[in-house]
Structures are given as C-alpha cells and as structure tokens.
C-alpha cells in the first residue's frame, strides 16, 4: 500500500495524549454520559452472566478451573481470579446478550473496555475517577484505531471490528489504570495490536458462543499486553503508524491514518459520541425494523394471524449479515417474526428457538428482508421501511430512521434505569441492583472499584 510518510508519529502522538490523560480531562458534561454507559454495560454484563449463556458459563468455568491470583471478579460468580482471566470471562459476558449499547465507530466498545478496566481496576484498587478516565481513554484509542482502518469496510474482509480493534481499547484502558508511561503504553498497544484477532465466522456458529468469545479475547488480549508492558516487556512501538507490516495492510486494506490524531484533545471525546442504547437483545441493524413493525401492529391493532406478509427493507450493505443468519440474534426474519407474534422480543427469544411455536414458524416464513440500494444514500445509519400486509389485503407501512434508544431518538433516564433493573434482575436482587445503580451514579466518590465489583458477584443459590 502506498501511504505517505507524513503520518509517521501518529502512534507517538496518541500515546502522549493517552498517557497524560487524567480524570480532569474528562469534560464535566461527559461524566454523566460515562456513568450511563457503565450502568447500561453492568446491566448487560449481569444478564450475560446468566448460565443460560453458554459462552459465559463455559469461560467462567474455565476461569475457575484454570486458577489464578484472586484479584478480579468474575461477574455473576462467587470467585475472583487473575485480571486477565477475568477479562476473558467478563468480556465474553459483555457481548453475550448483545444488548449493551454505547457503540461508537462500529465498535461494541463497552463490552470490551468496561471488563478490561474493571478487572485491572480491581487488581490496582483504582478509584472511581481513574476507572472512568480509563474508559474514556479506552474509547478514544479504540475508536481512533477503528476509524483509521475504516472498519465499515472490514466486514467483507472477514475481520470483526469489535474484536479486532477492541484489543487496542482494552490495552489503553488497562494501561491507564496501570499508570503506564509513554514508552510502556506504546509497547502495550504494540503487543495488543500485533495480536489483534477475531473473525466474522461466528455468523456461522449457531451456538452463538464464538460471537461474544471474540470480544472476551480482545478484553484479555489488551489486559495481557498492558500487564506485560508494565513489567518491562517490549512491543512494536508505533503500531498505528503506516508502513511495512502495518495494521492497515493486515486488517483493513486501506489506511486513513490522519484519523488517529484528528482533533485529538480538541473535539468531543469519542466516549461522548457513543451511539445510544439498545432496547432489544439482537443485532443493532434490526432495531429500526422492530420499532417500525411494533409501531404498525400496535397502532393498527393487527393480530398476528391477520398478517400475511412482512417486508423489511434495509440498506443494501446492511442486509447480508442479518439476512437469514443462522444466529437467531442476527436473523432479521426470526426477530421480526417473534416480535410480530409476541409484540416484544426478549433474551429468552434468543436463547430458545421460538420457531417450535407453529405461529412463529409460520410468521417466520412470511418475513422478507430486502437490501434496498435506493436507501443507501439516506443519512441514517440503519434505517428501515417495514410493510405489513393483512388478510384483508391492506398494507401498512412505516419508516424508522433512528431506533428508539439511539442518540438521535434517545431513551429517557427512566427508561434506561428500567432497562438496567430488568437486566440486572436476571442475577441480583432489586435491592442490590438499586445499590449498584447508586454506586455508578456516584462513581467519582468511589475510593476503590472493588466496592462496586463486589455488587457484581453472585453467590450460588
């Protein structure tokens, strides 16, 4: 690839920024945003820690069996282990239910960065401010690496950006808590970057285990890299610079290196640009369709048996991943069918195949997904047009540009809290969830993040 040398030094610039970053650099207005991200991610982690999520159960079991210094919580369990082992299990849980929000730059950042920061934070007895600053740094580095590789193009390339670039975010977040100096942080990013991995092949794994596992690996990969760098381990010191053997050739096939540093320290932090929160435990690209469908059937009171056809239109480039995907969470036809019959979609609809119910099976056959190139220029990211045809021959149509929960169509505070309490209820008492929420809302006064992590532990019943 021909890339000019004028971008040499971008890694050094980003590292200098990240290594000097402190809580004081988090804008006052961003603090609430960060707390909301933490709250939402804790909800997703608790739900994802439920044993019905086999990837969480198995990585958690492995963490117990493989042993390790008892320093970091395995969420939803009653034991601690080494921070890197905890990061693998918790990172897997973070994406297990696919309901965590606050994505940015096409990255499920919080599923990777929150577990990484939490695990290392416990090891180091970090305070709440350090934890929040670590998240801000993790987001910043993760999003910038992803943007520079223009990861919207890496899907056909087979790499899963949330995993591959998650390694950078986890290393940066962990590095912040470990107080790495510039040289160490550069090494940490280098070690993490040379080992960044994660393929899209999980879309052919109907167990849905390898999907979240890729993000768990990213969380652990970043933590391992930061730990080793602190101990004096070396790494390629300029991993985001272009040139021979760069991440751009390897993971992207294109390089937009200026995005590593554009507006660094000036424009809003990437963590404040996160895209919003998810109401449904499935691929974000199906949410607009769900909102449109539920809007139609509720407004027009259409009983499921009256529906003869559902046409779900999305942008042409969004269709391939969600079109008849063997993974229920990423299968538009399945999700829409369940929602059309049940008027809702919940975690159990992903864990169990509802097509055993003949009404849902029949509805599934009536859903058509259309990748519509005419929609591609629309400004919204994942807009949907849904057409529902009834037995009477009438067709109802609705267009949704931004799903409820998105930054452009936000959930209220009450809705976010309701979501958190509902998800947390899968594992902890209402009382404990309220206390956890209170801790999150007062993170800046938390003196040891272990006090927060303790509320994420669950004793066996």
């Amino acid at each position: 690839m021909s890339v000019s040398n004028r971008h040499d030094g971008v890694t050094a610039a980003l590292v200098a920024y990240a290594a000097a970053f402190t809580y004081a650099d988090v804008p006052h207005s961003a603090v609430d945003e960060i707390k909301t991200i933490v709250l939402d991610t804790f909800g997703a982690l608790l739900l994802g820690s439920a044993p019905q999520y086999s990837a969480s159960r198995l990585t958690g079991d492995l963490a117990r069996r493989s042993g390790g210094i008892a320093e970091s919580t395995v969420i939803g369990r009653d034991f601690k282990t080494s921070c890197e082992s905890a990061a693998l299990a918790n990172g897997t849980m973070g994406y297990a239910a696919d309901i965590e929000g606050a994505s940015v730059a096409r990255q499920h950042v919080p599923a990777v960065v929150v577990p990484a920061a939490l695990a290392v934070g416990e090891r180091e007895h970090a305070d709440g401010r350090t934890f929040m600053a670590a998240l801000a740094v993790g987001y910043e580095v993760c999003a910038r690496a992803s943007e520079a590789c223009r990861t919207e193009h890496s899907y056909p390339h087979s790499f899963h950006p949330s995993a591959t670039f998650g390694y950078f975010g986890a290393a940066a977040a962990a590095g912040h808590i470990l107080k790495l100096d510039q040289r160490q942080l550069a090494n940490a990013l280098g070690i993490a970057g040379t080992n960044a991995a994660g393929l899209m092949t999980w879309v052919f794994d109907p167990t849905e285990d390898s999907r979240p596992f890729g993000l768990g690996m990213a969380a652990r990969g970043g933590v391992t890299a930061a730990l080793l760098a602190q101990m004096g381990f070396g790494g390629p010191p300029a991993i985001l610079d272009p040139g021979k053997y760069s991440i751009y050739d390897a993971y992207a096939g294109e390089a937009h290196v200026e995005r590593v540093t554009d507006g660094l320290g000036e424009s809003p932090l990437w963590i404040t640009r996160a895209g919003g929160y998810k109401r449904y435990p499935c691929c974000g690209d199906i949410h607009t369709g769900l909102d449109a469908l539920l809007g139609i059937v509720e407004e027009h009171r259409i009983p499921p048996d009256d529906i003869t056809a559902i046409v779900h239109r999305v942008k042409a480039d969004r269709a391939p991943v969600i079109d008849n995907n063997p993974l229920k969470s990423h299968c538009a036809q399945y999700i829409m069918a369940v929602a059309a019959v049940n008027r809702t979609i919940g975690p159990n609809d992903i864990l169990q195949d509802r097509r055993a119910d003949p009404r849902i099976r029949a509805m599934f056959e009536r859903v058509t997904l259309v990748g519509d190139a005419a929609m591609d220029p629309w400004p919204a990211g994942s807009p949907a047009v849904v057409e529902v045809t009834t037995r009477g021959g009438r067709t109802f149509s609705a267009r949704v540009d931004w799903a409820k929960g998105r930054r452009e169509n936000p959930m209220t505070r009450a809705e976010l809290e309701e979501k958190f309490l509902r998800l947390a209820a899968a594992r902890i008492s209402h009382d404990a969830a309220e206390r956890l929420m209170d801790q999150v809302y007062h993170l800046e006064t938390v003196s040891d993040i272990n006090d927060v992590a303790a509320l994420l532990q669950v004793r066996p019943a």
Binding site: S82, M200, F204, L228
Partner: protein
C-alpha cells in the same frame, strides 16, 4: 472457492482426530524426537539469566497465577496449561535457533511443542500420545500455512507461524484433550477466531514481541481446544463459507495443500535445523561465507566486500532490517569475525567492535529474480566474498541442518550443550536427552517436563 473441497474442514479434522501413533513410520518418530530435543535446547537457552525475558515472564506467571497443571520451563513454577504454553512458546522462539519449515514459513516446534507438552502434562498423557500430537500438530500448522499462502501472509504483514501455528497448537492440544466429532470442529473454528500475529515486531528492538507472538499462538491453540472440550461452540467450518479463513488473512486458499500426501508425507521431515541464531533466510549465505573463509583461508580482515544474492520476493526481510537477527549485513559481518552467530550477539549490538561495524557496511544484499523460482520452498543464495586478491563465490541451495544436509546426533548434542550452558548441568542435559530418546516408552510425559524445571 472450489467445490471439490466441500467439507474440507471436516475431512481435515478427521485426520487430526483419527490418525494413530501406530501409523507414524519409525524415521518420522526419530526425527520428531530430534526436533523436540532441539526445540527444548532453544527454549531452555532463552531462560538463561543473561537474557531479560525469563525474569519478566516469570513475574507474569507469579502475578497472574494458575492451577499447577504444567511446568514453566527454566523455573520452579507450574501453572495452568494455557499460561505454560504462552510462556514456553515464547521461550521456544526467543533465541530463534529452533527448527523451522522454510516452505511453510513455519516455526512449528516453538508453538506445537509447548502446547503438546503442557496439555500432555495436564492430561497425564503418554510419550507416544504426545509424540503423535506433535507430528499431527506440525503437519496441521504447515499445511494451513500452505493453504493460506505463506508468501501472501507475509505480504499482508501476518506472521505465518502465528496465524497457522495456532491451528497446529490446537490440533496437538485437541488430540491430548481427546476432542472428537463436533468439539474438534468447533476447536478449529475457535482457533481461527483467535489466530493472528503481525510482523510489526520487526520494529521492536527488545525482541520481546517477536517470540511472544509464538507464545500466544501456542496459548490460543491450547485455549481453543480446552474450551471446545468443555463444550464451547465455534464456527464448525472455518475453512469454508462466507467468511472463510483465507479471505481474512490472504484472500487465497489452496485447499489441496491440506490433503496432498496427508498421513503419508510428514511435514516434520521437512524441518530445517538451525546452526545460527538468526533468520533462516540468511543461513545458506552464512554457510557459504564461513566455508569460503575456512576453505580459502581468508582472514576476516581481508574481506573487502560481501555480496549476498537472495530471492527477490524475500530479500527485503533481511536487507538492512533494524532487527539484527534479520539483518544480513549485521549477521554476515558478525559471523565473519566470530565464526558463529549466537543469540547473545544478536541481542547486544556487536558493532561496537569497529571491524564488525566496518564490514557490515560493506555487505550488500541483492534481490535476485532467478533465485525466486524456488522461493519460498528454498532460500537458495549466492554469496560472493571479495578480497584484495580474489573473489570467491558459493551457491548454496540447502543450508547445513536442512533435511538434505542433516545434523548428526553428535552435532545435535553439541548444539544443545552450547545452548544450555549455564542453564542446566551436564547431568540434566544427559537426562533430558535420555528422556526424549525413550519417549515412546514413557507412560507419562511429566517425566520429561519435570526435567525442564530450573536446575540448581
């Protein structure tokens, strides 16, 4: 993709799960033992206190902890099999003097050996079980590399040893965990999900991240097999489908490489042993250089100029590389003056010696299109040494240690002794040699791994 190879992940996995020890020919067993023995010498060498990597990794193991399942080489520590594979795999490539497969660009034993030993120890497997796992693991690693296209991996910036080596470690570990049926297919998928390893380490002059990638490949292979054995699912057709392995890493997939001669021609027989602690690309040139100096009675001080011709597609790796181990200018000048290439002299820049410095500035590396015809299968090199009175030339196709130019048992012992001097006693060296020698008779591989702990 080619329809003739439909179901190829499944068929390849079948070989891994069913190929029996009894079908491994005696010469293959013998060579595998030599490869393992040689690899252990290289690994133990890395644990010498004169290198810093051992102390860092020992601290890492202490601070993260783990169930005492497997020996960490050169320490008193035992830890879980995945962490042991990580550390031992890193040691395996640190001195860059263990055997490798040139065509597959694969440091197979550095990755597969530690995975097989760690899991074998955890599962209390026998010597034959571990030997068979290593034979199969090396085969898988090399074949996946060929299927991806080793040169294409390089061109994209991926280290073939890491990407494909993850599959080799997974296969070896998978056999020892006893993976069967869907679980083994899932392990293949999980290995693909974890596989990576950039060549970006060439800019890391600590030389830590270079071997660490191998350690990670070993750990990830172990982890994939371990999790699959616990029931974790994975994409069961990693070589096929909409997002196949080849598409991610090279855009190529040569499925026939998986199956050509499978179970009959063993990649372990094609490994080259290394006499020099540097990139294998430079070994034919080194043989030629040292032969000229010896046979033609040329004194190093009399060398005016050295010209190394290397296949055009690969010469950039060794031409003026900032990494001394991969810098032909440095290595050739060092060898001319010291008569050998030891890793310590790679790590510590010997250009403080003005003679070495001066000669290194008079070494030229030329990319040669003619030599490309047999690359990357062969690193055939032409070296010319110019003195005030004459120019000598050697055309070397196979370096010493290549299958066509094997090392004798005595040479292997000598190499092991040199590498492990100051790390393990003479007595321990003998014990390790003996244990490897009678590996087929060992009921438990722990008998061998116990000998790899810190000595004294």
């Amino acid at each position: 993709m080619d329809d003739r190879h439909a179901g190829m992940t499944d068929r390849f996995a079948q070989f891994v799960e069913t190929f029996p020890f009894e079908r491994i020919p005696a010469p293959v067993i013998q060579r595998t033992k030599e490869v393992l023995y040689d690899g252990l010498g290289a690994s133990l060498s890395a644990t010498s206190p004169r290198y810093d990597i051992g102390a860092v990794l020992e601290r890492f193991v202490r601070e993260t902890g783990g169930a005492p399942e497997a020996q960490v080489f050169g320490t008193e520590l035992r830890t879980n099999c995945a962490t042991a594979a990580l550390v031992n795999g890193t040691f395996g490539y640190y001195c860059d003097i263990e055997s490798h497969h040139p065509g597959a660009i694969m440091h197979a034993i550095a990755i597969v050996g530690p995975a097989a030993l760690a899991v074998g120890e955890r599962m209390r497997r026998s010597g034959p079980d571990v030997l068979a796992a290593i034979v199969v693991g090396i085969d898988v690693a090399c074949r996946v590399s060929y299927a991806l296209g080793g040169a294409a991996l390089y061109a994209r910036g991926f280290h073939p040893s890491c990407v494909a080596g993850t599959f080799g470690a997974m296969a070896a570990a998978g056999r020892l965990f006893g993976l069967q049926g869907p679980a083994l297919r899932h392990a293949f998928g999980l290995a693909g999900t974890e596989a990576s390893g950039l060549l970006a380490w060439v800019s890391d002059d600590t030389e830590h991240s270079r071997p660490f990638n191998m350690g990670l490949a070993s750990r990830h292979g172990v982890l994939a097999a371990h999790l699959a054995s616990c029931g974790l699912g994975g994409p069961p057709m990693i070589f096929e489908g909409k997002y196949p392995l080849g598409q991610a890493f090279t855009g190529q997939w040569h499925a026939e490489a998986l199956f050509d001669g499978l179970g009959e021609q063993f990649k372990v027989m094609e490994l080259c042993f290394k006499l020099y602690a540097c990139c294998a690309f430079i070994h034919p040139g080194l043989d030629g250089l040292l032969d000229i100096l010896r046979a033609e009675h040329v004194r190093p001080g009399d060398v005016r100029r050295v010209t190394l011709r290397f296949p055009a597609s690969g010469y950039h790796v060794i031409d003026g590389n900032a990494l001394r181990s991969h810098c032909a200018q440095y290595v050739l000048a060092l060898a001319a003056h010291r008569g050998a290439v030891q890793f310590f002299d790679i790590l510590r820049d010997q250009r403080a010696d003005p003679e070495i410095r001066s000669l290194s500035e008079r070494v030229q590396v030329i990319g040669d299109r003619d030599l490309d015809r047999t690359y990357p299968d062969l690193y055939r090199s032409v070296i010319e040494v110019e003195t005030p009175t004459a120019t000598y030339r050697r055309d070397v196709t196979y370096p010493k240690g290549a299958p066509q130019q094997p090392l004798t048992a005595a040479e292997l012992r000598q190499k092991f002794a040199t590498l492990t001097e100051g790390v393990v006693s003479r007595e321990r060296q003998d014990a390790i040699a003996e244990a490897v020698d009678r590996l087929e008779e060992l009921d438990e591989i722990g008998t061998l791994t116990h000998l790899l702990r810190r000595d004294g």
